[in-house]
Protein backbone atom coordinates (compact mmCIF):
# COMPACT_ATOMS: atom_id res chain seq x y z
CA UNK A 1 0.00 0.00 0.00
CA UNK A 2 2.86 2.38 0.78
CA UNK A 3 5.79 0.30 -0.56
CA UNK A 4 6.73 2.46 -3.51
CA UNK A 5 6.11 5.67 -1.57
CA UNK A 6 8.68 4.71 1.05
CA UNK A 7 11.05 3.28 -1.53
CA UNK A 8 11.10 6.67 -3.30
CA UNK A 9 11.22 8.54 0.00
CA UNK A 10 14.25 6.49 1.07
CA UNK A 11 16.00 7.20 -2.23
CA UNK A 12 15.70 10.92 -1.53
CA UNK A 13 16.04 10.89 2.26
CA UNK A 14 16.94 7.67 4.12
CA UNK A 15 14.64 7.10 7.10
CA UNK A 16 14.50 4.63 9.97
CA UNK A 17 11.68 2.13 10.53
CA UNK A 18 10.39 4.33 13.37
CA UNK A 19 10.32 7.42 11.18
CA UNK A 20 8.54 5.43 8.49
CA UNK A 21 5.90 4.39 11.00
CA UNK A 22 5.51 7.99 12.15
CA UNK A 23 5.03 9.24 8.58
CA UNK A 24 2.64 6.40 7.73
CA UNK A 25 0.08 7.73 10.23
CA UNK A 26 -0.28 10.88 8.15
CA UNK A 27 -0.89 9.14 4.82
CA UNK A 28 -4.26 8.43 3.22
CA UNK A 29 -4.51 5.30 1.04
CA UNK A 30 -6.93 5.78 -1.83
CA UNK A 31 -8.05 3.71 -4.79
CA UNK A 32 -9.33 5.44 -7.88
CA UNK A 33 -10.99 3.70 -10.81
CA UNK A 34 -10.26 4.56 -14.42
CA UNK A 35 -11.92 7.81 -15.52
CA UNK A 36 -12.70 8.89 -11.96
CA UNK A 37 -11.66 12.33 -10.82
CA UNK A 38 -9.27 13.01 -7.99
CA UNK A 39 -9.83 16.74 -8.47
CA UNK A 40 -12.10 18.88 -10.58
CA UNK A 41 -11.43 22.44 -11.64
CA UNK A 42 -12.99 24.93 -9.22
CA UNK A 43 -12.43 22.89 -6.07
CA UNK A 44 -9.51 23.66 -3.78
CA UNK A 45 -6.87 20.96 -4.19
CA UNK A 46 -6.57 19.38 -0.77
CA UNK A 47 -4.06 16.67 -1.55
CA UNK A 48 -0.73 15.85 -3.03
CA UNK A 49 -1.11 12.40 -4.60
CA UNK A 50 1.70 9.88 -4.90
CA UNK A 51 1.02 7.15 -7.45
CA UNK A 52 1.67 3.65 -6.08
CA UNK A 53 0.04 1.98 -9.05
CA UNK A 54 -1.71 3.15 -12.20
CA UNK A 55 -1.64 6.38 -14.17
CA UNK A 56 -3.25 9.81 -13.85
CA UNK A 57 -3.18 13.07 -15.74
CA UNK A 58 -3.66 16.73 -14.83
CA UNK A 59 -5.23 18.94 -17.47
CA UNK A 60 -7.01 22.20 -18.08
CA UNK A 61 -9.96 22.69 -20.43
CA UNK A 62 -10.00 25.76 -22.68
CA UNK A 63 -12.95 27.72 -24.07
CA UNK A 64 -13.20 25.35 -27.04
CA UNK A 65 -13.46 22.42 -24.61
CA UNK A 66 -10.03 21.20 -25.67
CA UNK A 67 -8.14 19.37 -22.94
CA UNK A 68 -4.57 20.54 -22.43
CA UNK A 69 -2.51 18.03 -20.48
CA UNK A 70 -0.12 19.64 -18.03
CA UNK A 71 1.25 16.57 -16.33
CA UNK A 72 1.10 12.79 -16.27
CA UNK A 73 1.46 10.87 -13.03
CA UNK A 74 2.75 7.31 -13.22
CA UNK A 75 4.09 4.92 -10.58
CA UNK A 76 6.51 6.66 -8.26
CA UNK A 77 5.46 10.19 -9.22
CA UNK A 78 3.44 12.80 -7.40
CA UNK A 79 0.59 14.71 -9.01
CA UNK A 80 -1.41 17.67 -7.74
CA UNK A 81 -2.52 21.21 -8.52
CA UNK A 82 0.31 22.58 -6.43
CA UNK A 83 -0.74 26.22 -6.81
CA UNK A 84 -4.19 25.47 -5.44
CA UNK A 85 -2.78 23.18 -2.74
CA UNK A 86 -0.39 25.84 -1.45
CA UNK A 87 -2.57 28.95 -1.85
CA UNK A 88 -5.97 27.31 -1.16
CA UNK A 89 -7.39 29.01 -4.22
CA UNK A 90 -9.68 27.03 -6.56
CA UNK A 91 -7.86 24.59 -8.82
CA UNK A 92 -7.49 25.35 -12.51
CA UNK A 93 -6.69 21.74 -13.34
CA UNK A 94 -8.66 18.53 -13.40
CA UNK A 95 -6.93 15.35 -12.32
CA UNK A 96 -8.35 11.99 -13.36
CA UNK A 97 -7.26 8.38 -13.59
CA UNK A 98 -6.18 6.92 -16.94
CA UNK A 99 -6.07 3.44 -15.39
CA UNK A 100 -7.34 1.90 -12.15
CA UNK A 101 -4.95 3.44 -9.65
CA UNK A 102 -3.71 3.16 -6.08
CA UNK A 103 -2.63 6.41 -4.51
CA UNK A 104 -1.05 7.66 -1.33
CA UNK A 105 -2.56 11.05 -0.51
CA UNK A 106 -1.03 13.69 1.72
CA UNK A 107 -3.63 16.18 2.90
CA UNK A 108 -2.84 19.83 3.51
CA UNK A 109 -3.13 19.43 7.28
CA UNK A 110 -0.96 16.29 7.29
CA UNK A 111 1.57 18.07 5.07
CA UNK A 112 1.75 21.11 7.36
CA UNK A 113 2.03 18.99 10.47
CA UNK A 114 4.79 16.81 9.03
CA UNK A 115 6.72 19.88 7.88
CA UNK A 116 6.64 21.09 11.48
CA UNK A 117 7.42 17.83 13.23
CA UNK A 118 9.43 15.62 10.86
CA UNK A 119 12.58 17.38 9.53
CA UNK A 120 13.21 14.61 7.00
CA UNK A 121 9.78 15.22 5.50
CA UNK A 122 10.77 18.84 4.99
CA UNK A 123 13.90 17.71 3.14
CA UNK A 124 11.84 15.27 1.07
CA UNK A 125 9.41 18.08 0.17
CA UNK A 126 12.23 20.46 -0.78
CA UNK A 127 13.76 17.84 -3.07
CA UNK A 128 10.38 17.07 -4.63
CA UNK A 129 9.59 20.72 -5.31
CA UNK A 130 13.10 21.35 -6.67
CA UNK A 131 12.68 18.37 -9.01
CA UNK A 132 9.28 19.62 -10.13
CA UNK A 133 10.69 23.10 -10.76
CA UNK A 134 13.53 21.75 -12.88
CA UNK A 135 11.15 19.58 -14.87
CA UNK A 136 8.84 22.52 -15.45
CA UNK A 137 11.71 24.77 -16.57
CA UNK A 138 12.81 22.13 -19.03
CA UNK A 139 9.26 21.73 -20.29
CA UNK A 140 8.83 25.47 -20.85
CA UNK A 141 12.16 25.67 -22.69
CA UNK A 142 11.18 22.78 -24.92
CA UNK A 143 7.78 24.27 -25.72
CA UNK A 144 9.06 27.74 -26.60
CA UNK A 145 12.24 26.87 -28.44
CA UNK A 146 11.91 23.44 -30.07
CA UNK A 147 10.28 22.36 -33.28
CA UNK A 148 7.29 20.04 -33.14
CA UNK A 149 9.47 17.10 -34.14
CA UNK A 150 12.07 17.89 -31.49
CA UNK A 151 9.36 18.17 -28.86
CA UNK A 152 8.05 14.72 -29.72
CA UNK A 153 11.50 13.14 -29.76
CA UNK A 154 12.41 14.84 -26.52
CA UNK A 155 9.25 13.42 -24.96
CA UNK A 156 9.92 9.89 -26.25
CA UNK A 157 13.51 9.98 -24.98
CA UNK A 158 12.59 11.38 -21.60
CA UNK A 159 9.46 9.33 -20.96
CA UNK A 160 9.53 6.16 -23.09
CA UNK A 161 7.31 4.36 -20.53
CA UNK A 162 4.56 7.02 -20.78
CA UNK A 163 4.57 6.86 -24.57
CA UNK A 164 3.72 3.17 -24.33
CA UNK A 165 0.87 3.61 -21.90
CA UNK A 166 -1.14 6.63 -22.94
CA UNK A 167 -3.04 7.30 -26.17
CA UNK A 168 -1.33 9.38 -28.86
CA UNK A 169 -3.81 12.25 -28.65
CA UNK A 170 -2.83 12.76 -25.00
CA UNK A 171 0.86 12.86 -25.88
CA UNK A 172 0.01 15.42 -28.58
CA UNK A 173 -1.85 17.49 -25.99
CA UNK A 174 1.05 17.28 -23.52
CA UNK A 175 3.59 18.56 -26.05
CA UNK A 176 1.25 21.19 -27.43
CA UNK A 177 0.47 19.68 -30.85
CA UNK A 178 -2.74 18.70 -32.56
CA UNK A 179 -3.24 14.92 -32.92
CA UNK A 180 -3.00 15.38 -36.73
CA UNK A 181 0.40 17.08 -36.51
CA UNK A 182 1.70 14.39 -34.19
CA UNK A 183 0.42 11.70 -36.54
CA UNK A 184 2.30 13.33 -39.45
CA UNK A 185 5.51 13.53 -37.40
CA UNK A 186 5.25 9.89 -36.37
CA UNK A 187 4.71 8.83 -39.97
CA UNK A 188 7.69 10.86 -41.07
CA UNK A 189 9.90 9.40 -38.35
CA UNK A 190 8.85 5.82 -39.01
CA UNK A 191 9.52 6.17 -42.73
CA UNK A 192 12.97 7.46 -41.83
CA UNK A 193 12.67 10.71 -43.80
Amino acid sequence: MYELFFEEFNKKVPITAEEQEQIKHYLTPKKLRRKQYLLQEGDVCKFIAFVEKGALRAYSVDENFTENIIQFGLEGWTISDLYSFLTEEPAVYNIDALEDSELVLISKSAHEEMLQTIPKYETYTRLNITGAYLAMQRRITTIISSTAEERYQDFINLYPHIAQRVPQHMIASYIGLTPETLSRIRKKLSSGK
Binding site: M1, Y26, L32, Y37, L38, Q40, L105
Partner: protein, 185 residues
Protein backbone atom coordinates in the same frame (compact mmCIF):
# COMPACT_ATOMS: atom_id res chain seq x y z
CA UNK B 1 -17.56 20.60 -3.76
CA UNK B 2 -17.52 19.80 -7.45
CA UNK B 3 -15.38 16.64 -7.27
CA UNK B 4 -17.58 13.66 -6.52
CA UNK B 5 -16.78 12.13 -3.14
CA UNK B 6 -16.98 8.39 -2.61
CA UNK B 7 -18.86 7.30 0.49
CA UNK B 8 -18.76 3.71 1.68
CA UNK B 9 -21.59 2.57 3.91
CA UNK B 10 -20.80 -0.48 6.00
CA UNK B 11 -23.94 -2.25 7.22
CA UNK B 12 -25.94 -0.83 4.33
CA UNK B 13 -28.70 -3.43 4.41
CA UNK B 14 -29.72 -2.70 8.01
CA UNK B 15 -32.54 -0.24 8.67
CA UNK B 16 -30.20 2.67 9.40
CA UNK B 17 -27.93 1.79 6.50
CA UNK B 18 -30.84 1.60 4.07
CA UNK B 19 -32.21 4.97 5.22
CA UNK B 20 -28.84 6.69 4.99
CA UNK B 21 -28.07 5.15 1.58
CA UNK B 22 -31.29 6.42 0.09
CA UNK B 23 -30.96 9.93 1.57
CA UNK B 24 -27.33 10.35 0.49
CA UNK B 25 -28.06 9.19 -3.05
CA UNK B 26 -29.58 12.65 -3.67
CA UNK B 27 -26.21 14.31 -3.27
CA UNK B 28 -23.12 14.59 -5.45
CA UNK B 29 -21.76 11.36 -4.04
CA UNK B 30 -20.78 7.97 -5.29
CA UNK B 31 -22.02 5.35 -2.86
CA UNK B 32 -20.44 1.96 -2.25
CA UNK B 33 -22.62 -0.25 -0.12
CA UNK B 34 -21.37 -3.21 1.91
CA UNK B 35 -23.02 -5.65 4.25
CA UNK B 36 -22.79 -9.21 5.43
CA UNK B 37 -25.23 -10.45 2.76
CA UNK B 38 -24.43 -9.14 -0.71
CA UNK B 39 -27.90 -10.09 -2.01
CA UNK B 40 -29.52 -7.93 0.68
CA UNK B 41 -27.20 -5.02 -0.12
CA UNK B 42 -28.06 -5.39 -3.81
CA UNK B 43 -31.75 -4.98 -2.90
CA UNK B 44 -30.89 -1.62 -1.31
CA UNK B 45 -28.97 -0.62 -4.45
CA UNK B 46 -31.96 -1.57 -6.62
CA UNK B 47 -34.35 0.37 -4.37
CA UNK B 48 -32.15 3.48 -4.46
CA UNK B 49 -31.82 3.30 -8.24
CA UNK B 50 -35.56 2.77 -8.60
CA UNK B 51 -36.27 6.07 -6.83
CA UNK B 52 -33.29 8.01 -8.24
CA UNK B 53 -32.26 6.59 -11.59
CA UNK B 54 -29.16 8.79 -11.86
CA UNK B 55 -27.82 7.75 -8.45
CA UNK B 56 -24.30 6.38 -8.58
CA UNK B 57 -24.56 3.46 -6.20
CA UNK B 58 -23.02 0.02 -6.18
CA UNK B 59 -22.94 -3.07 -3.94
CA UNK B 60 -19.49 -4.38 -3.10
CA UNK B 61 -18.73 -7.65 -1.37
CA UNK B 62 -15.33 -6.56 -0.15
CA UNK B 63 -15.55 -4.05 2.69
CA UNK B 64 -11.78 -3.55 2.64
CA UNK B 65 -11.73 -2.55 -1.04
CA UNK B 66 -14.80 -0.35 -0.64
CA UNK B 67 -13.20 1.52 2.28
CA UNK B 68 -9.93 1.80 0.35
CA UNK B 69 -11.83 3.58 -2.45
CA UNK B 70 -13.77 5.76 -0.04
CA UNK B 71 -13.19 9.35 1.00
CA UNK B 72 -15.76 9.02 3.77
CA UNK B 73 -16.84 5.87 5.61
CA UNK B 74 -20.18 5.47 7.37
CA UNK B 75 -20.40 2.67 9.92
CA UNK B 76 -24.10 1.83 10.11
CA UNK B 77 -23.44 -1.03 12.50
CA UNK B 78 -24.33 -1.51 16.16
CA UNK B 79 -21.80 -0.36 18.74
CA UNK B 80 -20.98 -3.98 19.62
CA UNK B 81 -19.84 -4.68 16.04
CA UNK B 82 -17.66 -1.60 15.71
CA UNK B 83 -14.50 -3.32 16.88
CA UNK B 84 -14.83 -6.17 14.40
CA UNK B 85 -15.44 -3.77 11.49
CA UNK B 86 -12.56 -1.52 12.64
CA UNK B 87 -10.18 -4.49 12.64
CA UNK B 88 -11.17 -5.30 9.08
CA UNK B 89 -10.78 -1.81 7.61
CA UNK B 90 -8.04 -0.25 9.78
CA UNK B 91 -5.24 -0.31 7.24
CA UNK B 92 -7.19 1.50 4.51
CA UNK B 93 -8.99 4.27 6.43
CA UNK B 94 -6.01 6.27 7.71
CA UNK B 95 -6.77 10.03 7.79
CA UNK B 96 -10.29 9.51 6.41
CA UNK B 97 -13.54 10.72 7.91
CA UNK B 98 -15.23 7.78 9.66
CA UNK B 99 -18.79 8.32 10.83
CA UNK B 100 -20.49 6.13 13.39
CA UNK B 101 -24.26 5.96 13.69
CA UNK B 102 -24.01 3.62 16.67
CA UNK B 103 -25.98 4.12 19.81
CA UNK B 104 -24.51 2.20 22.74
CA UNK B 105 -27.78 2.59 24.66
CA UNK B 106 -29.40 0.18 22.21
CA UNK B 107 -26.87 -2.52 22.89
CA UNK B 108 -26.36 -5.00 25.65
CA UNK B 109 -22.86 -3.64 26.23
CA UNK B 110 -22.25 -0.94 28.79
CA UNK B 111 -22.21 2.63 27.59
CA UNK B 112 -18.57 3.71 27.34
CA UNK B 113 -17.83 6.54 29.75
CA UNK B 114 -16.07 8.58 27.11
CA UNK B 115 -18.64 8.28 24.34
CA UNK B 116 -18.78 6.82 20.87
CA UNK B 117 -16.36 9.29 19.27
CA UNK B 118 -13.61 8.50 21.77
CA UNK B 119 -14.22 4.77 21.40
CA UNK B 120 -14.13 4.97 17.62
CA UNK B 121 -11.01 7.11 17.78
CA UNK B 122 -9.39 4.50 19.98
CA UNK B 123 -10.27 1.73 17.52
CA UNK B 124 -9.15 3.74 14.49
CA UNK B 125 -6.57 6.15 15.90
CA UNK B 126 -5.46 7.91 12.72
CA UNK B 127 -8.91 8.65 11.34
CA UNK B 128 -11.21 11.63 11.80
CA UNK B 129 -13.92 10.07 13.93
CA UNK B 130 -17.37 11.64 13.94
CA UNK B 131 -20.60 10.54 15.51
CA UNK B 132 -23.96 11.37 14.00
CA UNK B 133 -27.17 10.95 16.01
CA UNK B 134 -30.70 12.34 15.96
CA UNK B 135 -31.52 14.97 18.57
CA UNK B 136 -34.18 13.32 20.77
CA UNK B 137 -35.11 16.56 22.52
CA UNK B 138 -36.77 18.38 19.65
CA UNK B 139 -39.45 17.74 17.04
CA UNK B 140 -38.10 20.44 14.76
CA UNK B 141 -38.54 20.01 11.01
CA UNK B 142 -36.30 19.23 9.27
CA UNK B 143 -35.13 16.81 11.91
CA UNK B 144 -32.11 17.92 13.90
CA UNK B 145 -29.02 15.77 13.77
CA UNK B 146 -26.19 16.15 16.26
CA UNK B 147 -22.66 15.85 14.97
CA UNK B 148 -19.82 15.22 17.41
CA UNK B 149 -16.10 14.96 16.77
CA UNK B 150 -12.76 16.66 17.27
CA UNK B 151 -11.63 17.46 13.73
CA UNK B 152 -13.05 20.73 12.46
CA UNK B 153 -12.70 19.95 8.77
CA UNK B 154 -14.38 16.58 9.30
CA UNK B 155 -17.28 18.24 11.15
CA UNK B 156 -17.72 20.59 8.22
CA UNK B 157 -17.70 17.71 5.73
CA UNK B 158 -20.25 15.76 7.76
CA UNK B 159 -22.48 18.83 8.23
CA UNK B 160 -22.65 19.16 4.45
CA UNK B 161 -23.46 15.48 4.17
CA UNK B 162 -26.23 15.69 6.78
CA UNK B 163 -27.77 18.70 5.00
CA UNK B 164 -27.73 16.79 1.71
CA UNK B 165 -29.53 13.94 3.43
CA UNK B 166 -32.31 16.40 4.31
CA UNK B 167 -31.56 17.02 8.00
CA UNK B 168 -30.47 20.05 9.97
CA UNK B 169 -26.91 19.57 11.26
CA UNK B 170 -26.09 20.77 14.77
CA UNK B 171 -22.44 20.51 15.79
CA UNK B 172 -22.09 19.42 19.43
CA UNK B 173 -19.91 21.54 21.70
CA UNK B 174 -16.37 20.26 21.89
CA UNK B 175 -15.91 18.13 24.95
CA UNK B 176 -19.63 17.57 25.51
CA UNK B 177 -20.50 13.94 26.26
CA UNK B 178 -22.00 12.20 23.26
CA UNK B 179 -23.30 9.17 25.04
CA UNK B 180 -26.94 9.95 25.69
CA UNK B 181 -28.95 10.35 22.55
CA UNK B 182 -30.76 8.19 20.06
CA UNK B 183 -29.25 7.25 16.74
CA UNK B 184 -32.15 7.04 14.29
CA UNK B 185 -31.29 9.18 11.30
Amino acid sequence: MITKQTITIVGASGSMGTAISSSLSRGNYRLLLCGSELAEVQKVVDAVKYSIAAAEVEALDCTLDACWEADIIVLAVPFAEMQEVADRIREVVNQKVVISLANPLDDATDTPATGVVAELQKLLPYTKAVRVSANPFTDAKPKEVIIAGDDEEALETVSELVSTAGFRPVVADAGAPDTASEPEV
